[in-house]
């Protein structure tokens, strides 16, 4: 049953823009790409100051149940969010964390990348979400760089377009350096994409 869906969760603190990242991912996959997509987020007191959470489900078939059953990919932008929303993570799934704000990972298979640091380097900490988006896009392999670019352009005000493109590519570059082989217990790309048709 599960094999018709690829389930992702993005989470972080209120200001880290994880919902935006999720929406752009969903647009890249479902509007510019050919997937069915379904994107939800948590509203509620935990989104104030505390953590916020967004989910994206992509599938080649129409999506029935809109929420994550078992996460194939989990992006955590800080420690609290990681700890709060780690449940129903598929052990074979892809865990990607922002090393700037996450010290402890619950599995050795985690991919830890300095999204926020990178964003600071680019001059604007708030594009950390787009850096992360680039990495997630690359690592999941669900969306083409071109579609990611289109989706970013569509959601970002014109004057910030260049900055965001730069952030996206910085994220992709970070991801390219990840040696998936080195991750003990980490899923291979085949593990992840294998079931999707």
């Amino acid at each position: 049953m599960k094999n018709d869906r690829y389930e992702m969760r993005f989470c972080g603190s209120g200001g880290q823009g994880v919902i935006t990242a999720a929406v752009i991912f969903a647009e890249a996959a479902g509007v510019f790409g050919d997937y069915y997509v379904c994107q939800t987020q948590s509203y509620g007191p935990q989104s104030r100051g505390g953590s916020s959470k967004a989910e994206v489900i992509i599938s080649t078939k129409e999506i029935d149940y809109p929420q994550v059953v078992s996460m194939d990919c989990f992006l955590a932008m800080n420690q609290t969010a990681l700890d709060s929303f780690f449940s129903n993570f598929n052990p074979k799934g892809l865990l990607i964390v922002d090393s700037t704000y996450v010290d402890q990972v619950p599995t050795t298979g985690a991919i830890s990348l300095p999204f926020t640091e990178k964003a600071r380097e680019l001059g604007k900490e708030i594009v950390a979400n787009i850096v992360a988006l680039g990495a997630v896009g690359y690592l999941t392999g669900k969306v083409s760089v071109e579609n990611l670019e289109k989706a970013v352009d569509a959601r970002v005000p014109e004057k910030f377009r260049d900055l965001n493109r730069e952030a996206l590519h910085a994220g992709i570059e970070l991801a390219k350096n990840v040696n998936m082989e080195n991750l003990s217990r980490s899923p291979t790309l085949d593990d992840i994409y294998g079931h999707t048709d």
């Binding site: 929406v23 509007v31 939800t40 509620g44």
Partner: protein, 381 residues
């Protein structure tokens, strides 16, 4: 994506709430009055951006009572009108909703349901306003209530809501919920096969002959816009065919009977349902709104186990689609009615077919009923 071409279809990623706006505009809605409330506020916000471009009007009123008053007024003046709210606001709208029913004014009220009662759980989904949508205002009255389960639904059924309201001169309540309202899905707009749009029937007689509340075969009198030369009186008092107060038993009884009859006449098109894998089903789930999504998945899961399960989605909740429900009940050896409330529509299912083996499944803790829960229940039937 940002193409200016409006004559060609494109894919968009929209929230359910946004799709309701697109559906309303496609149906010809040109007036919105509302008061913000979570989880419906996106509808107001998007309307405030879009309506002025179309020559329409958006206004944020001082409360929900005023919002209802304004959309009744605007509709009387000829503008297809919408408001959107959630539980607390919907409770406040009840008095003027009754006025709209009494004066047979077409309009659409969206209630994006959240957990209740009272302020309740403002950011959690629920389906607990289903009985209120039917019975919330005082006195016997006619009303149509529809429910949506997805972004696609939110677009299409909003158009249908407007069409039914215009065709039957009646307020239509469209129930969404926090899940559907905030879920984003890709949708192609305008759709490849756009739904037809229905506009209220205007009088064809000269103004002196016009009877705004006269019975006819459909039970739906033609409706003249204010300002179109057909001066008449509109009152929440019981009234005669001309619209003037009349409390005689004949007029009163006749009026109320016509209200019910006009919806009964249109039952075939008003009482909408959708089916999934029902053809050979031996057990079935009957539900509506966001739970439909879990139901479909549960049915698929059951089928994988070789169980002949099927699903009936109630698009129209009121008038209750008795025929479709009865057919399912008669066909299946067991029927499961899951709801995100303490048991509301299940009462109607039970009333329709008293012989069916009926199981209800209720979750009212602010969380969605998952496919797993339904699947397990299906397997136990």
């Amino acid at each position: 994506m940002n193409s200016t071409a409006t004559d060609q279809s494109q894919k968009y990623l929209l929230q359910g709430n946004e799709a309701i706006v697109e559906g309303a505009l496609a149906a010809g809605c040109r007036f919105y009055a509302g008061y913000p409330i979570t989880p419906s506020s996106e509808i107001a916000e998007l309307m405030s951006r879009k309506l002025p471009v179309l020559g329409g009007t958006f206004i944020q009123m001082e409360d929900e009572i005023a919002s209802m008053g304004a959309i009744v007024g605007a509709s009387l003046a000829g503008a297809k009108s919408l408001t959107a709210t959630s539980g607390p606001g919907f409770s406040l709208m009840q008095e003027n909703l009754g006025y709209a029913s009494m004066t047979e004014v077409p309009l659409v009220i969206v209630n994006v349901m959240r957990g209740g009662p009272s302020t309740g759980l403002p950011t959690s989904p629920a389906q607990a306003d289903v009985m209120q949508a039917r019975w919330g205002t005082h006195g016997d009255h006619a009303i149509i209530v529809l429910a949506v389960s997805s972004v696609a639904d939110s677009y299409e059924i909003t158009i249908q809501a407007f069409n039914l309201s215009e065709k039957y001169r009646t307020p239509v309540v469209l129930l969404s919920d926090e899940i559907v309202g905030h879920t984003r899905e890709a949708i192609t707009l305008p759709p490849n096969e756009p739904l037809p749009v229905f506009n209220r029937i205007k009088p064809s007689v000269p103004p002196e002959w016009y009877l705004p509340y006269e019975d006819n075969s459909r039970g739906v009198p033609p409706m003249a816009d204010i300002g179109s030369g057909y001066r008449h009186h509109v009152t929440g008092l019981m009234h005669d065919a001309k619209g003037f107060p009349d409390f005689s038993p004949e007029v009163t009884g006749g009026f109320l009977k016509r209200q019910y009859r006009k919806l009964a006449n249109g039952a075939d098109e008003i009482q909408m349902t959708k089916q999934f894998m029902m053809d050979d089903a031996e057990i079935a789930i009957i539900t509506y709104g966001c739970v439909s999504r879990s139901a479909i998945r549960a049915v698929k899961m059951a089928r994988e186990q070789g169980i002949k399960a099927g699903f009936l989605q109630l698009v129209t909740l009121w008038p209750f689609p008795k025929r479709a429900v009865d057919a399912v009940c008669r066909k299946c050896r067991a029927v499961l009615v899951p709801e995100m409330n303490m048991g509301q529509m299940v009462r109607e299912v039970r009333a329709v077919n008293q012989k069916a083996t009926l199981k209800q499944l209720n979750r009212f803790d602010g969380k969605l009923i998952t496919p797993e829960i339904l699947f397990r229940k299906l397997m136990s039937l």
